[in-house]
Amino acid sequence: MKRRSVLALSGALLAGALAANPARAADLIFTSGALAPVTEAQKMRTVILKDFKSPVTFLPDEPPAMLTRLRAEVEGKARVSSLVGGNDGDLAVLAASGALVPIDDVAQQLASRGFAPDLMTMGKLGTDKQLYIPWMQATYFMVANKKALPYLPAGADINALTFEQLRQWGEAVQKATGKRLVGFPAGPNGLMHRFFQGFLLPSYTGGVVSTFKSADAEKAWTEFAALWKTVTPNSTSINFMQESLLSDDVWIGFDHVARLLGALEKRPDDFVAFPAPAGPKGRGWMPVVVGLGVLKDAPDPAGAKALIGYLTQDSTQLITAREVGFFPTVKATLPPDLSPGLKMAVAAIQGTGAAKDSLAAMLPGGLGPKGGEFNKVFIDTFQRVVLRNEPAHDVLARQAEVLQRIMTEANAPCWKPDPVGAGACQVK
């Protein structure tokens, strides 16, 4: 009867699957919230991790899923992962729950690598112990199709644009082609909130939280709403700018380097890369740091520490940059034979950091589990002011209340470019 054959078949498959599951248990498990997209994970496994001395199982996941999984490992008392990789915010969440062990010994061992001191300080997550080692870094910039270049406003230097000039550029393109060809990653998985936290607001107000409802902030949002009139409405579906650039849906786009590199690599002759625009208070930009931490009760802490050493050595750092577009945190000089796409990306990034008016805005820190709500404040403000055309003043006043509540509850001190001090950051 049908049931019997199903039973037999499933029994056979079960046996087969169990048999095909040899001693993977001895592998070092490296859980990661970064490099989750399929292509990046594949490169991690087949290229970057290839030369490590022992087998590593790389398990990337979306950060929320990864955090849930790690928490469940703790609560179920069955720790599986030894090494964890994630951005600063996720590692902060882990640290807050005591899941990371101090790795000052690793920091000392690797001191000669020349990690940027700023990054090492971030890796302490506000304590006096090293909780993560900075693994790789990235930032955001803009890419334009060369077809758009003729429409640049007169006298504008593409490597030193202002937001005003960007708007004029977008308008010129729209007038000439009849289409809106500026793009921002405002899709469900897009990184739009980083644009507000690291680029728009610092450029206009010199701060993020403390100046949230200032007159400068109102100006920022209002002018961005005007800029949005030149932005393609498909932006609210864009998660990866490179796709829209390659399909010519967008001629001028902003996104994270990893989500732009594809376009630059595939058709380097068609695109130019340049730093994001500046506002009245400077050229805000946000460095993104991904770190490595060793988990408490890890099955293989020694292996995890060795892997940290491997991933932060010069050669691996360079391969990582080449393969996935995340750049070194150690003092490693990039070789001259980089692909043209990567060269453009590097130039844009260096141009951003080295600009005279550059204004680094750190990743939100110390928010712990409130990070998500914090991001929501900016996305909601965007929806209200830019998409629904509500008056900026009222929206900011309301959202400022929410923001203050979050900062107070998280007891998070201000981070640069807001004035750094003790106690929860205040919205003026």
């Binding site: 049931r3 499933s10 079960l14 699957a17 997209p37 399929v38 199982t57 899923a65 998985n189 796709e243």
Partner: protein, 267 residues
């Protein structure tokens, strides 16, 4: 052929096209790769046909193994759903007992609550039960999800089978169990096939529970869909195609069972 019959057959053909054409177009996108996706205007027959994207996709580590695990989980789920669902459906159909409606509602609660929200307590519970990251564990969870179908569909089927048939069998000396097995089950077989199909497909396509409850032994769907949301459109379409083919094949294989007893049922 009469005009009416021709109209009717046209209607059938149109519905078939309605189903098949979008699938064809998805396949065209998956097999055509980036050039087709960015093309404007899109021709109905793509100019470029390459298996490159699909092969790249299949070469991704673990994809094939994930397919095997997915099959295993789906078959287990089918087995358990039928095993647990049929008797329960029979009880609901044949007996009016206190708590029948409560049971129905309870069974539906499992479907009415988005399972992904249960991620943390579920994972912790599974780790404690030793079922975390095992095909069996995922299959059990999928069975919980497929049970409402199994119970309700089999209940409605048993309800439609005249009670008199069983009663007649009792008169002829069959025990209730024999009557149920020999008389009712054959008539219910098409419905059992429907239940089996649902259970298999639900399990195969289920993503949240499977992602949450596994780390290394993932089903294909969990493996792909979790990654696909951050992958370029080419991979999304390729992955979609890869997901579609096995369940379509499975339904094809069991389609005969759907009408195996047509002759008897129409008496």
């Amino acid at each position: 052929m009469t005009g009416k019959r021709a109209l009717y057959l046209t209607g059938v053909a149109v519905i078939c096209a309605w189903v098949l054409v979008p699938l064809w177009l998805l396949a065209a996108n998956a097999l055509g790769g980036q050039p087709v996706i960015s093309a404007w205007p899109k021709p109905l027959i793509p100019s470029a046909f390459s298996f490159e994207t699909m092969l790249e996709f299949l070469a991704i580590e673990g994809v094939f193994r994930a397919m095997l695990i997915g099959f295993e989980v789906a078959l287990l789920c089918t087995f358990f759903s039928v095993l647990l669902g049929l008797p329960a459906g029979y009880a609901l159909a044949r007996y009016s007992f206190r708590g029948a409606n409560a049971f129905r509602l309870m069974v539906l609660l499992t479907r009415a609550f988005p399972v992904g929200i249960l991620a943390l307590p579920l994972t912790v519970g599974f780790i404690r039960l030793g079922l975390y990251d095992t095909p069996l564990g995922i299959a059990l969870m999928h069975t919980a999800l497929a049970l409402p179908f199994a119970v309700l569909v089999s209940a409605s089927l048993f309800q439609a089978i005249p009670r008199e048939l069983e009663e007649a069998a009792w008169v002829f000396g069959c025990s209730p169990l024999q009557a149920a097995l020999r008389v009712v089950m054959p008539l219910a077989l098409p419905g059992v096939s429907a239940v089996a199909i649902f259970a298999f497909v639900i399990s195969w396509n289920e993503v949240f529970a499977a992602s949450v409850l596994s780390a290394r032994n993932r089903t294909l769907t969990a493996y792909l869909l979790a990654m696909l949301s951050e992958s370029p459109l080419t991979y999304q379409f390729a992955g979609a195609l890869l997901l579609i083919v096995p369940s379509v094949l499975f339904i094809y294989l069991v389609r005969k069972r759907l009408f195996a007893m047509w002759g008897i049922a129409s008496r």
